[in-house]
């Protein structure tokens, strides 16, 4: 949502007014609006310059007679100010300014509030916490008569003095002078404001003044009956309502967009059967397009049948069609070259799943942690089942739902090719966007800096890498997530799951599922949550039979378990949280947690992960237990994340405490997180306790990093509103480690709050210039852009400088919204 922290100034003609009166600008407080809506109604306005009143449309609530309490409030309260600066106009006249531009004011907000002014006559008197039995607690001094009546009334109701009566208590701010002398408050006052505050403090009456009484009256309900409510009251409530509506509207709009997105996707799928290209009548058992995967995986195969090689040739030409824009190579050739060449990243990722099974040798039989796909042909079901190593079983294990389990049992027990599950049981995913993603950074550069500057930007695109997993990884490593998503689009199209294919049966392989996982992960990283949701919905709860290895005996032989990586499950479970559907996210994450618990329980009682009986060595069992405990921990972190984002701090707190018990390696970090969470919810004492705990659980001085402790003290100072102290503490940390982005950012923010904007900007700019790759971070850029906006009138130029730096150093996944560039 586009929000602006800056006060949008009132578009005022008021400067003109000031000119004819040099004495004080404040003598005539007035407000104008461009469209001459009702502006000010001032009562007893003889003393006021007539031109200040430009009201053309008097609003019902502003023309009401002055509520009595205003008169009441006038005498004592005006005293301090009167002696201070004689200003009869301002102190004695309640001025109701109805149209000025709101602080939060985007253009729409302003329009909203003006609309509201026209209609506010119709707005009902807001219900102010009225309970029928309630009586009002008396106001100091002036209102005793009313109070006695109230008491009489309630006495009549009460029995023997035992009746419990409810009072509605008006609140007043703390007025005793100690409030301003409060140590915390005093500490925080920056030197610039000290004068104003202290002079202000002396003016504060120690007793509750009638102004406050008046205010309390305006808040107490039963008084509203006897006294007409102050005009402002109506105004406040109505405006509040208005804003709520405004935010609702934007919500709805978002919702609508999502819905329309979904519906277009749905429409697409309905349209597709007619327009689908020929040759896509895919039967689940022998899909034309899936075949090449298993067959083309065996170039150089000595056992490959003639028929197979023929088929693979045929499909190669099909592939060429897809990849015509790249160098004309079979995508799988590059894959094999990678295997033989041992590409850069093959140290980490050894795509065993692509290696031909017939070149099976003993080294391949050693369980590889990366072999998430072990293809097999009908001929070597036996070897494949051998290959289905312990690591595979451990990682792929999942407990299917009852209906899925039955389908899988039917699949494995019936002769090959005779069992066809219901269509509802199948996942039929498809890509939901028609167009490839562009590079948003480049687009911005083109818009603001011109074509020439844009042409200078050199980053990887989907076309400039090999059209396979390696290329994909290359794009991810370079931070070009948009391009990587585009590449997944191409690769998934090969699987018959491209754009518009949603709702059509297609065959999954472990590789296609990995592609989907990568794609969704990247979409989430790019904050394209609605798109991710649309594309994820076809996968349901990731439990359909066709997501299990057992579903494809011809492809995976005896391999068991789910093809869905655990990370994918977490991603899909967390996704609704990013769209504001926290409850749905919590439900899904809890379901994951339940399954993890069940698996751990199964392993504990001597069964295999999914509850079947299996001979397992104690080593196997321990490895598996370790893996699943780690996974359960991951899920717990996920729930915590969701709870924090929901601001359910009770839940988050109890989870963090549980994690402190369960994740001994992260105890110090968890205490730090718990401390910061306490600050977020406002409990400074508890936060301090947690930070102390962090210190206790950190390693002793030689290995101890003093910066973390300083960061913590700075957070506490911020909570005490002592930004000056916080910035001094962070200066210290900056001296210790001048290369810490976190310290630099937090220090700059604290400098802002002490009014040292230029220093803050200098600090941030210095860091970004020295290490652009590291410090061109979304959050840092957002802070810097905000500082620019406040500091100078040429913020736009300075932001463009930042933009060109981003264009030079960052991939296409940089969140350019952080620059907050005004649309041109």
């Amino acid at each position: 949502m586009a929000t602006n922290p800056f006060a949008q100034p009132l578009p005022s003609d008021s400067t003109n007014l000031v000119e004819d009166d040099g004495r004080s600008f404040f003598d005539q407080l007035s407000a104008q609006s461009e469209e001459s809506e009702a502006v000010i109604q001032q009562h007893m306005s003889e003393a006021l310059p007539v031109e200040a009143i430009t009201s053309t449309q008097s609003l019902p609530f502003t023309t009401q007679p002055n509520p009595p309490h205003n008169e009441l409030s006038m005498q004592p309260v005006s005293l301090p100010y009167n002696t201070h600066q004689p200003d009869p106009l301002m102190t004695q006249q309640p001025v109701h300014v109805s149209v000025t531009e709101d602080f939060s004011g985007t253009q729409e907000a302003t329009m909203m509030s003006s609309m509201h002014n026209e209609s506010s006559g119709d707005i009902e008197q807001p219900t102010l916490d009225v309970v029928p039995v309630l009586t009002t607690a008396p106001l100091q001094g002036s209102q005793t008569q009313n109070f006695e009546q109230d008491v009489d009334a309630s006495n009549a109701l009460s029995q023997q003095g035992k009746g419990a009566t409810q009072f509605n208590i008006p609140l007043t701010p703390q007025y005793d002078s100690s409030a301003t002398k409060d140590s915390i408050f005093n500490q925080t006052v920056s030197p610039e404001t000290m004068n104003t505050l202290s002079s202000h403090g002396t003016g504060i009456p120690t007793q509750l003044t009638p102004v406050q009484s008046a205010m309390m009256m305006s808040m107490s309900t039963s008084m509203l009956v006897t006294n007409p409510s102050p005009n402002t009251n109506v105004d406040i409530e109505a405006t509040t309502v208005k804003f709520q509506q405004a935010s609702l509207d934007t919500c709805n709009e978002r919702e609508l967009q999502t819905v329309s997105h979904t519906s277009t996707a749905a429409k697409d799928t309905q349209l597709m059967p007619g327009s689908s290209p020929a040759g896509n009548t895919v039967s689940p058992t022998a899909p034309a397009q899936q075949k090449p995967l298993s067959s083309s995986a065996k170039p150089g195969s000595t056992q490959g049948s003639a028929q197979d090689s023929f088929k693979s040739k045929e499909n190669e030409s099909k592939f060429l069609k897809y990849f015509s824009n790249t160098k004309k190579t079979n995508p799988f050739e590059s894959m094999t070259t990678q295997i033989s060449g041992g590409g850069n990243d093959s140290a980490m990722i050894n795509p065993v799943y692509m290696s031909p099974t017939d070149s099976f040798n003993i080294s391949n039989a050693i369980p590889s942690p990366d072999s998430f796909l072990t293809p097999a042909t009908e001929q070597d079901v036996f070897t494949a089942s051998l290959l289905s190593s312990d690591a595979d079983r451990r990682h792929d294990a999942w407990i299917p739902s009852e209906s899925t389990r039955q389908a899988l049992v039917a699949m494995t027990t019936s002769p090959p090719g005779t069992y066809f599950p219901e269509k509802e049981l199948l996942t039929m995913p498809g890509i939901a966007v028609k167009e490839d993603f562009g590079d948003p950074v480049k687009n911005l550069v083109r818009t603001y800096l011109g074509e020439e500057a844009a042409s200078k930007r050199k980053i990887l695109t989907a076309a400039s890498v090999t059209q396979d997993d390696r290329g994909l990884r290359q794009l991810i490593a370079a931070g070009c997530y948009h391009a990587a998503v585009n590449l997944t689009t191409q690769l998934l199209t090969v699987y018959g799951q491209g754009e518009g294919r949603a709702g059509h049966p297609s065959k999954h392989t472990a590789h296609s599922i990995q592609l989907w996982f990568t794609r969704i992960a990247l979409l989430i990283k790019l904050r394209r949550f609605s798109l991710a949701e649309v594309e994820c919905q076809y996968f349901g709860d990731l439990d359909a039979p066709d997501l299990y290895f057992e579903f494809y005996p011809e492809l995976y032989g005896g391999r068991k378990g789910s093809m869905v990586p655990f990370g994918f499950r977490l991603l899909v479970a967390e996704l609704p949280q990013h769209l504001g559907k926290h409850t749905q996210a919590l439900d899904r994450i809890t379901a994951l947690l339940r399954t993890c618990d069940q698996i751990i329980k199964n392993l504990g009682v001597g069964l295999s992960e999914d509850g079947s009986s299996l001979e397992m060595t104690s080593n196997m069992r321990d490895d598996s237990l370790k893996l699943w405990r780690t996974r359960r921990q991951r899920v717990l972190y996920s729930v915590t994340n969701c709870a924090v984002s929901l601001k359910d701090f009770r839940l988050a707190g109890s989870l963090l405490e549980r994690l402190i018990q369960e994740d001994p390696n992260a105890v110090a970090g968890l205490y730090s997180a718990l401390g910061r969470m306490c600050l977020q919810l406002g409990d400074v004492t508890a936060a301090q306790d947690m930070f102390n705990q962090h210190l206790e659980h950190s390693p002793p001085p030689p290995q101890h990093d003093p910066v973390q402790g300083l960061l913590h003290s700075a957070y506490i100072s911020i909570a005490q509103n002592a930004f000056k102290d916080a910035s001094e503490i962070l200066q210290q940390a900056h001296k210790i480690n001048s290369n810490n982005g976190l310290v630099i950012n937090n220090l700059a923010v604290c400098l802002m709050y002490t009014g040292r904007v230029s220093e803050a900007i200098k600090l941030m700019e210095g860091a970004i210039i020295s290490q652009p790759e590291r410090f061109l971070h979304e959050a840092l850029v957002l802070n810097l852009a905000t500082m620019y906006e406040l500091e100078s009138s040429n913020a736009h130029q300075k932001k463009l400088k930042l933009l060109s730096s981003i264009a030079q150093h960052k991939g296409d996944s940089f969140n350019v919204a952080a620059l907050k560039l005004q649309p041109q």
């Binding site: 301002m90 003095g161 009072f167 208590i169 990722i349 924090v644 919810l681 590291r774 040429n794």
Partner: protein
């Protein structure tokens, strides 16, 4: 921005300084055996917004400047940063900034109110920053009026003003209930409801008693511990209410004159301090809380002694005190109306109480036979004023737990 601003070579920007928030990065993890390999994880590790060595907990550590005006509530501190920037290529002299907060019925000068304040001089593209703070003590519409005056290069005195409007809302709703106990104690139950838009932490909710009473807060697990009864994490979600309980005991000097005490309706004030995001603090105090004066009539009956647990069908005794609290002598007649609840009175059903002169009291020991198990109310005592023929029925004298099990001796209140 708008054309009016362009006429001036100085520009004024105002930003509300709500507390910074903590930026939370998005982290996506995967196994090393998955397709993206370690690249996604490596990116998360390199991300300075994600605390190192820890999966994403959702609690960030990178401070982020406020990106919207937010809400402001009564009792909080309004703070904002004013920036005056010289857009021109000339040196500007005699720059003065004034800021005044205008409410419906008063105005508070926040900046530049002193006449003898030195005037600034601004170099080209230089900036004056001022941070102002104000504790909000008024509900409703507030308008921040900022005025800048300066001497243009022509020597002409120039000035302009800007107005910023915001609404101050009520953060808390307090409802109270009083219970006047027979022993002159008063129990106050205060429900504090959070009516802000986010969770808040009630740092302090204290009752400052009126001169007649001393107060014992009953909101801690034990008197010497610091932990509240409300659970480990001290937070109240939006629209949630938290009940605080206080026991007020009359001071000895107040107890000395029951008449004064009876008319002591002022109980005290609740002093509430809360904090929200990153320790943003607010403080409010209620007006004097008033209870209803307890109504005793002419006679007052208190239970002096009663066992808390009794065994079924085993007779037990209740010690009652009858006090004359009116200005004349009382001749009273005591009758049983049936024991109410689960027990029956045992003894002479109708007897005359000795004459009581004003302020005098008498004690009576009465027997009861428990007939039903459970927590039962002792009721069914009727006193009749033989002179005025006025009757007083006592339907809720005390409660006793009746059990089938054998009761250990001395289970008394």
């Amino acid at each position: 921005m708008d054309s009016k601003d362009k006429d001036h070579i100085l520009s004024l920007k105002v930003m509300r300084l709500t507390r910074p928030s903590l930026f939370t990065g998005l982290s996506v993890g995967c196994d090393a055996r998955d397709l993206p390999g370690d690249h996604l994880n490596a990116e998360t590790r390199a991300d300075i917004a994600v605390p190192p060595g820890l999966h994403n907990t959702g609690v960030g550590h990178l401070l982020l400047l406020p990106q919207s005006f937010g809400n402001i509530y009564l009792g909080e501190t309004f703070s904002c940063c004013l920036c005056v920037h010289n857009d021109s290529n000339e040196i500007i002299r005699d720059v003065a900034i004034k800021a005044v907060l205008q409410m419906s019925n008063q105005r508070v000068p926040l900046l530049g109110d002193d006449e003898d304040e030195p005037l600034h001089q601004l170099q080209p593209s230089d900036t004056i920053n001022e941070v102002i703070q104000h504790e909000v003590k008024d509900i409703g519409t507030h308008i921040l009026v900022c005025a800048v005056s300066y001497q243009a290069s022509s020597g002409e005195q120039q000035n302009f003003r800007k107005f910023f409007k915001f609404q101050v809302m009520k953060p808390l709703d307090v409802k109270t209930k009083f219970y006047n106990a027979e022993c002159d104690e008063v129990y106050l139950e205060a429900g504090v409801q959070n009516i802000t838009s986010g969770p808040l932490c009630l740092e302090k909710v204290e009752l400052e008693p009126s001169p007649y009473f001393t107060v014992v807060s009953m909101n801690k697990i034990s008197t010497d511990s610091n932990s509240l009864v409300f659970g480990g994490i001290n937070t109240i979600n939006t629209h949630d209410t938290r009940q605080y309980l206080y026991c007020l005991k009359p001071r000895p000097e107040a107890r000395a004159s029951p008449a004064t005490l009876r008319h002591a309706t002022a109980i005290g004030k609740l002093d509430i301090v809360w904090r929200t995001n990153m320790g943003d603090r607010g403080r409010l105090q209620t007006s004097q809380l008033q209870r209803m004066a307890p109504q005793y009539g002419d006679v007052r009956v208190t239970v002096e002694r009663i066992p808390s647990v009794v065994q079924l069908e085993r007779q037990f005794e209740v010690l009652l005190t009858i006090t004359n609290i009116c200005e004349r002598s009382l001749d009273l007649h005591l009758a049983f109306l049936g024991g109410g609840g689960g027990s029956e009175w045992s003894g002479v059903s109708s007897q005359t109480v000795p004459t009581l002169s004003p302020g005098q009291y008498t004690s009576l020991t009465l027997s009861l036979l428990p007939l039903h198990t459970g927590l039962q109310t002792i009721a069914g005592v009727r006193l009749t004023d033989t002179f005025l023929k006025r009757t007083y029925d006592y339907e809720n004298l005390a409660q006793v737990f009746i059990t089938r099990d054998k009761v250990r001796e001395k289970g008394e209140v």
